[in-house]
C-alpha cells in the first residue's frame, strides 16, 4: 500500500475541508458564547399551552433596562433568552414580568450569568492554555525522540498535524454555526484541548514506529520507511479510532442529550482528524521535509 505517494491529494483534501468550513465561519461571524463575552443566558419553561413570543418578551427586558435581548425557542418548547449581563435584581424583574404577562408558572431550566471582565480573562487564559500545552508537548516529543536524527522535525510535524486538527475543529464548528446555530462556549474549549492531547497521541504512535523501524532498516529509503511504518500501524489506528473511540462518541452524540451533543460531535470530528492527520499530514510532511520537496514546487510541477 503506497499511502505517501498520494500525499498531495491528501493535502488538497485537507485544504478544501478547512477552507470551506472556515469560510462559513467567517461569513457567519464567530458566535462566542457568554462564557467569553460576558452576558446572561436564561432558559425558561412555561406551562403547557402558555408561552410568550419574542415580541412580548423584549419589552419586559427593556423594563429591566436591557435592550439587547435575543429570544430563541428550543425543540423542547423552552425559551432561551440571551442578553447582556443581568444582575440578580434585573433577573427577578424579568421573571416576574414574564409571569404576569403569560399567566403561567415559570420554571428556570438554566440561568448563566457571566460578568464581562471574567469573559475576557477566560479567553486570554484559554489561549495561554493552548499555547503552553502545545509547547510542552513539542518539547516532550523532541526530548523523547532525542536519539533519532532530526528530532526537532518530529516535534514540528506533530505541531503541524495538531494545527491541522485545530483548523478542522474550527471548520466543523463553522458548519455547525452556519447550519445549526452553534455557539462557541467553554465546552468547545474543552473539546479543543482534548483533541490537541489526542492528536499528539496518535502522531506519537506513528512516529514511534518510524523511530523503531529506522533502527532496524537502516538502509531503507526514508519515504519507504515511513510508508512501511504507517501501514504497520494502520490496523491499530482504525481499530482504536473507528471501533472504540468513535463508537463511544457517536452514541454520546446520538443519545447523550442536548448539552453534550455539540461537544460530542466536535470531539468526534476532532479525534477522527487527529488520526487522519497523523497518517496523512504529519508523516508525509516528515518525508517532504527530508526530501526538501519545496524546491520543486515553483520550478517544475511536483510529482504528485
Amino acid at each position: 500500500m503506497n499511502i505517501l505517494g498520494k500525499r498531495y491529494y491528501f493535502f488538497a483534501l485537507s485544504t478544501i475541508l478547512i477552507v470551506s468550513g472556515l469560510a462559513l465561519l467567517l461569513i457567519k461571524g464567530v458566535p462566542l458564547s457568554i462564557d467569553f463575552t460576558g452576558g446572561t443566558l436564561l432558559e425558561v419553561q412555561f406551562e403547557k399551552g402558555k408561552s410568550l413570543d419574542a415580541d412580548s418578551i423584549l419589552p419586559i427586558y427593556e423594563k429591566a433596562e436591557i435592550a439587547d435581548a435575543q429570544v430563541t425557542t428550543t425543540e423542547t418548547g423552552s425559551i432561551i433568552i440571551r442578553s447582556s449581563f443581568l444582575t440578580n435584581e434585573a433577573r427577578d424583574i424579568v421573571l416576574k414580568g414574564m409571569q404576569e404577562k403569560s399567566g403561567s408558572e415559570i420554571t428556570v431550566i438554566r440561568f448563566d450569568s457571566v460578568g464581562p471582565s471574567i469573559g475576557k480573562q477566560v479567553t486570554q487564559r484559554a489561549a495561554i492554555a493552548i499555547a503552553v500545552a502545545s509547547i510542552l508537548v513539542v518539547l516532550f516529543i523532541v526530548w523523547s525522540f532525542r536519539k533519532v536524527e532530526n528530532a526537532f522535525r518530529y516535534g514540528v510535524c506533530a505541531i503541524l498535524a495538531m494545527l491541522h486538527d485545530i483548523a478542522i475543529i474550527f471548520s466543523i464548528t463553522g458548519i455547525g454555526v452556519y447550519f445549526f446555530e452553534w455557539q462557541i462556549d467553554s465546552l468547545f474549549l474543552t473539546a479543543l484541548l482534548t483533541v490537541i492531547g489526542f492528536s499528539m497521541q496518535d502522531t506519537i504512535v506513528v512516529f514511534d514506529r518510524i523511530r523503531e523501524n529506522s533502527n532496524i532498516h537502516r538502509r531503507l529509503e526514508f519515504e519507504k520507511l515511513v510508508n512501511h511504518s504507517i501501514v504497520q500501524t494502520l490496523q491499530r489506528s482504525i481499530n482504536t479510532q473507528l471501533m472504540t473511540v468513535e463508537f463511544l462518541l457517536l452514541s454520546l452524540a446520538l443519545f447523550g442529550g442536548v448539552t453534550l451533543q455539540e461537544f460530542a460531535i466536535i470531539l468526534l470530528v476532532g479525534l477522527l482528524s487527529g488520526t487522519y492527520s497523523s497518517i496523512f499530514v504529519a508523516a508525509p510532511i516528515l518525508v517532504l521535509w527530508e526530501k526538501r520537496e519545496w524546491r520543486t514546487w515553483f520550478g517544475r510541477k511536483a510529482e504528485a
Partner: protein, 452 residues
Amino acid sequence: MIRNLTNRIILVVVILAFSLWVDFSTQVKILNPMTDETLFSQDLTPRLGLDLRGGLQVLLEADLPENAKIDTASMEIARDIVQQRTDALGVNENVIQVAGERRIVGEFPGLEDTEAVLATIQQTGLLEFVDTGDFNPEEGSILVTDYSPTGDAAATPADGVNVFHTIMTGAELESVNVSQDTLGTNYIINFVLKSNGSKIFADHTSANRGKFLTILLDKRVISAPVINDAITGGSGSISGRFTYESANAFAIQLRYGSLPVPLKVVETRIIGPTLGADSLNKSLVAGLIGMVIVVLFMIIYYRLPGIVAVLSIMIYAAITFAIFKWFHFTLTLPGIAGFLLSTGTALDSNILIFERMKEELRSGRSLIQAMDLGWTRAWSSIRDSNLAAIITSVILFWFGSSFGATIVKGFSLTLALGVLISLFTAIYVTRTLLALFLRSFKPQNYERWFGI
C-alpha cells in the same frame, strides 16, 4: 514470560476486591475490635455535579482594584467564612473553593434561590464578646447567646441549652492590630474600643477577672481568652499561642467581623433539576450503548485477547469509580465524557499490544515469545502517547481551576486519572489475565483463538 504469576493474580484480585467493595458500599468504617471505637471512617456517597443534579453556582470575585494585591491567607479565610455561613443552606453539600488569586467559586446543589444564597454570603458577620464564666468552650463550637440584632428577645431555646450573655458586639471595636509580645516569641492582638464599648468592657473585666471572655463570630467560637486584668483604658490585647499568620487571620476577623476581602458576584449559573436528571440518564444510556458495541467489537475481532481486554476494562472501570468515590471527586457530565474517552485510551493500549502480538505471531514466533515481544515493543508508544495526554490534562486542569470552570476541571481530572489507571490495567492486568488464560487453557490452534 511472566514469573510470579500467582503474586500478580493475588494483587489484581486484591485491588479488584477492594475497588468493588468501595463501589458498592456507601460508607467505610473500621472499628477497634477491643473497644468498638471508630478507628477510621470514610463516607462514600458519590458526589454528583451541579449539571447532573441541578443547583446554583456562584463565582465571587474580590471587589478590589485589579492591581491590588490580595494575599492567599485572607482569601482562605473568606472561603472559610462563606462556607460556614452557607452550611445551613440546602442539602449541606455546598462546595466552596478558592479559584485562582482573587476568586471564590461556590456550588450549592439543589438550590435555586440565588437571593437567599447571596444574602447569606454577603451579610456582615456578627462578632460577639460573650461571658462564659468558668466554661472554656472549644474553638469552633457553636454557642447560644442572648443577643439578637433586631433587639427582640431571642426565641426561647430548648430546655437544657445554656444561653450565654453577650457583653458587646464587634460594633464597639475602633481598631485592631497585631504585634509581638515583649519577649518577641508570641504574637498578640491589640484592640482599641469606642467610648461606649470601653465603659462596658471596663465594668465587665473588673468584675470577672480569671473568667473566660469568649469571642464568637456568627455564633461560632473563634477564641476564648481568660481575663487577666481589668481593662479600663479602652484598649486591650489578646494573647494566646498565636503564630504570625493565625494572629493576622484572627485580627482580620475581628476588624471586619466578616469577610476579610469584600466579594462581588461575577457569575451565576443555575441548572434546573429536570435538566440535570435528564442529562444524567441520557449520558448513562449513551455510555452503555457505546460500551456494548465496543465490547462486541473487541471480542469478535480479537477473540481470546478481546475477552481479556474487556475483563481488564471492567476492572479499570471498577478502580476508577472507586477512586472517584473514595476521594469525593465530583462527577459531572464532561466528567463522564472524559471517562468514556479514557476508556478509549485504555482500549487503545490493549489494541496496540494485540496488534503487535499478531505481527509477531505472523512472523512465526511462538505464542509466549509473541506475548512478551508484543508488550515490550508496544510499551514505548503507549508510554509516550499517554504522557502527552497527561500533559494536556494537567494544563486543562490548571485552566479550569483558576476560573471555577468546574466542567473543564471535571473533564481533565477524569481524563488524567483514566489515562493513569488505564496504563496500569493495560500493562499489568491484561497481561496477567492473558498469561493466566493461556496457562490454564493451552490452546492448540491459537490462530483461531487470536483471530489471525
